[in-house]
C-alpha cells in the first residue's frame, strides 16, 4: 500500500503518514485505531510504544 492510499483510507494527509513512518509524530488514539483498522490488525500490532 502506498503512502497516498493509506493517507486516503485513514483520512489524513500524506505528510502525516510520512511523519508517522519517520517516528516524528505520535498519532491520536483515534487515528491509531483508524490506521490499525485499515491494515485489519490489532492496535498493538500496528503501533508499539518505544
Amino acid at each position: 500500500m502506498t503512502q497516498v492510499e493509506l493517507a486516503e483510507k485513514a483520512n489524513v494527509t500524506r505528510q502525516t503518514i510520512i511523519a508517522l513512518e519517520a517516528q516524528k509524530y505520535s498519532p491520536s488514539l483515534e487515528l491509531a485505531f483508524r490506521i490499525a483498522k485499515v491494515f485489519d490488525v490489532p492496535l498493538e500490532e500496528a503501533f508499539q510504544y518505544n
Binding site: 505528510q15 502525516t16 519517520a22 516524528k24 491520536s28
Partner: protein
C-alpha cells in the same frame, strides 16, 4: 512547476503568508523610517502609507493565494495540521498580548509625548497595531513552518 510539487498546498500557503509579511514589512519600514529620521511623521503621510500597505496585502493575497490554490491540490486539514495550527496560534497570541500590553503602557505613560518627539495620534496607534499584526503573523508562519519541516 516542479518546485510546487515538493511542497504541500498547506506549506505553500504558509510560505506565501511569510513572504507577504516580509514584503509588507519591507515596504512599510522603508517608507516609515525616512519620515521618522526627518521628523516628518505627520498624519497624512502615515495614513497614505498604511492604506497602501493594506492595498498591497489584498492584491498580493488575491493573486498569490489564488494561484497556489488553483495550481496545487487543496487538502483537508487533519489532526496534525490542527495541532501545529494551535501551536502557532499560541505563539502568535503571546506576541500580540505582550505587544498590546506595551502599547497600552505607551498610551498611558506616553513617553513619546514627554520627550516631545511627536504627538501620539490615532494614525500612530494604527501604525503600531499594523506592526503588531505583522509580528504576530510572522511568528505564526515561522512556528508552523518550523513544526512542518522538523517532522520531515
Amino acid at each position: 512547476m516542479q518546485f510546487l510539487n515538493n511542497y504541500s498546498n498547506r506549506e505553500l500557503n504558509i510560505w506565501a503568508e511569510l513572504i507577504l509579511d516580509i514584503i509588507v514589512s519591507f515596504y512599510f519600514f522603508s517608507k516609515i523610517f525616512p519620515l521618522i529620521i526627518n521628523g516628518q511623521l505627520y498624519n497624512e503621510a502615515l495614513v497614505g502609507i498604511i492604506a497602501n500597505t493594506i492595498i498591497i496585502s489584498i492584491i498580493y493575497s488575491i493573486f498569490v493565494f489564488g494561484a497556489i490554490n488553483t495550481l496545487t491540490k487543496r487538502e483537508e486539514k487533519d489532526e496534525r495540521d490542527y495541532i501545529y495550527e494551535l501551536k502557532s496560534y499560541r505563539i502568535s497570541n503571546i506576541i500580540s498580548q505582550v505587544s498590546i500590553y506595551l502599547l497600552i503602557s505607551l498610551i498611558v505613560f506616553n513617553p513619546i509625548n514627554q520627550v516631545r518627539l511627536n504627538e501620539f495620534t490615532a494614525p500612530m496607534i494604527a501604525m503600531i497595531l499594523l506592526i503588531i499584526t505583522l509580528l504576530s503573523s510572522t511568528g505564526k508562519s515561522l512556528t508552523q513552518l518550523f513544526n512542518y519541516r522538523k517532522n520531515i
